[in-house]
Symmetry: C2
């Protein structure tokens, strides 16, 4: 099969054997999405060699449980042991022995086929088209915020960053009725938010120390500093992006202001599919362009351009 | 009156007029305690000029409400406006216009008299002697942890640091029944903990990534790094100490592990007085020595010695 291989900061198309794991589902990929993590991995931020990609919708071709064959599915990216302390205590996404689809020791989805344990799969409702379903993973990551902290309808909430993930976070937080503002830079980012009635703010307009919840989704020290400035004493600062290298931060002020900082990563798939089925969110507005797998390198070039949101790879 | 004055990183005894604020209580200080913040202020970590000290027990000599006269009291250190957003939203310790006893724009308690608004005062139960009551403020700070986060009886909890505040935190957390371990260095620190059946651990023994809650109370980057290493994914890291200058931290791992970091400062006085009254905690074991006010400089020298816990200043 054709697959996009990452090795030594280089991606290239290769002809590889399809995965063969008798205890896992064999999945034919229909569409896959390029996310910021993929772009960072190509830059070498994570030590990974293998097939890239972790956002997908596909069809089960074979499985240990034959009831799954033919199902259109999305898949959670952490494949877990079920036996470690994290797994046994209800934190499977933190499994100590996990492999992660297209990220850690597990071939990903920019390929004709991938494989995952059945426990990772979720059936996609018929009414949810592929171009929506392919956003289930990042939408779940957005919803992780509300799995971790309570967002009250009365909260003033600021989202710093309006890129791929920031847009999905803004769409989901907007459903709480909270007083939501988003710091956006690019015109397209602003237009997409405005179209959903989400308020946009600029860095200059942000009142310091006034926001109950701030979600930092730029992954840059500037974004972090802006978010830190905006949060009120005893407020909650949610970090949704990883940062290149270490960051230098004044922790004394975090102690004095009793700030709550919480890291946030992978989220729950079922609520994401629910929201897609009910059309409460619309991730398809993020789609910039779709490329075929043979043009995957062009797809990555496109996705790396400033202001470009989601680039899809349509595979079969 | 005699008072310990801080100016330009120098403390000295001065003869000053007693405070005269008609709308506040005039309090005769009975005993005051030296805390790490006082020592840091002398080192110049905070820009403050005035009478130092914020831990005290005293007697009300005059007050706008005469019912308070003669009452033996302790006092919350934040004097607040009652009108700002923080005050109106139930966060008075974060009042935007606050003065702080012996710390920010308000003369403190290493003096014969101090003054505070009546709203700051709490009557000390008769059964609680002065040498216990003087610990109400730091004990309240210890209890702030349990005002902010839930400490479950089933949690594995690590306290990093067993100095003045660390001892009080350990005593209060021990009451939850949780699996509590404390990193202590000095023999006296260890002996005090052991005497209460609290388990001691060394840095080398700490299992990384296994602790549900870690309380960092050293105020040093080494302590922070140890605490960060110890906390499990989705665990809660409570910061009880301020840090000199900025700290360089890997936030990506905090995001990936979904760590919750929470700053913690001043706490609730009534629960502290309750625990003292019921003798559920015993802060008096921390007392190293008591000096008279005229020997306050010696008291500060003593308090600055490594391994010395609480030094009191007995005033009247």
């Amino acid at each position: 099969m054709q697959a996009l291989w990452l090795e030594n900061n280089q991606i290239s198309l290769r002809e590889l054997a399809p995965p063969q794991k008798a205890h896992e589902a064999l999945i034919k990929i229909r569409k896959a999405g390029i996310c910021s993590t993929d772009l960072e991995m190509v830059k070498g931020y994570y030590p990974y060699t293998g097939i890239l990609g972790h956002e997908f919708v596909g069809e089960v071709m074979d499985a240990p449980d034959k009831n799954w064959i033919g199902a259109r599915v999305v898949g959670e990216i952490n494949a877990v042991c079920g036996a470690c302390e994290a797994c046994l205590n209800g934190r499977p996404t933190h499994c100590e022995n996990r492999t992660v689809l297209g990220i850690v020791n597990r071939d990903g989805v920019f390929a004709e086929y991938t494989s995952l344990p059945l426990a990772n799969l979720h059936r996609v409702p018929d009414s949810v088209p592929d171009e929506m379903a392919v956003f289930t993973e990042p939408l779940a990551a957005a919803l992780e915020i509300q799995a971790q902290i309570q967002v009250k309808s009365t909260d003033r909430v600021l989202v710093v960053g309006a890129g791929r993930l920031g847009q999905l976070i803004a769409q989901t937080l907007s459903l709480t009725g909270c007083d939501l503002h988003v710091v956006a830079r690019h015109t397209l980012q602003k237009n997409l938010l405005s179209a959903r009635g989400i308020r946009i703010t600029s860095e200059e307009e942000i009142q310091p120390g006034k926001w109950d919840i701030v979600v930092e989704v730029t992954g840059s020290p500037d974004g972090f500093n802006l978010a830190r400035k905006a949060i009120r004493p005893r407020g909650t600062l949610v970090l949704k992006s990883t940062y290149k290298g270490d960051m230098t931060v004044n922790f004394s002020s975090i102690v004095v202001d009793e700030i709550n900082i919480i890291g946030s990563r992978c989220g729950p798939f079922e609520p994401a599919l629910n929201l897609l089925e009910k059309r409460e969110v619309d991730p398809t507005v993020l789609i910039a362009e779709e490329f075929s797998l043979k043009d995957a390198l062009k797809a990555f070039e496109k996705a790396a351009q400033p202001g470009v949101l989601k680039v899809l790879v349509g595979i079969q």
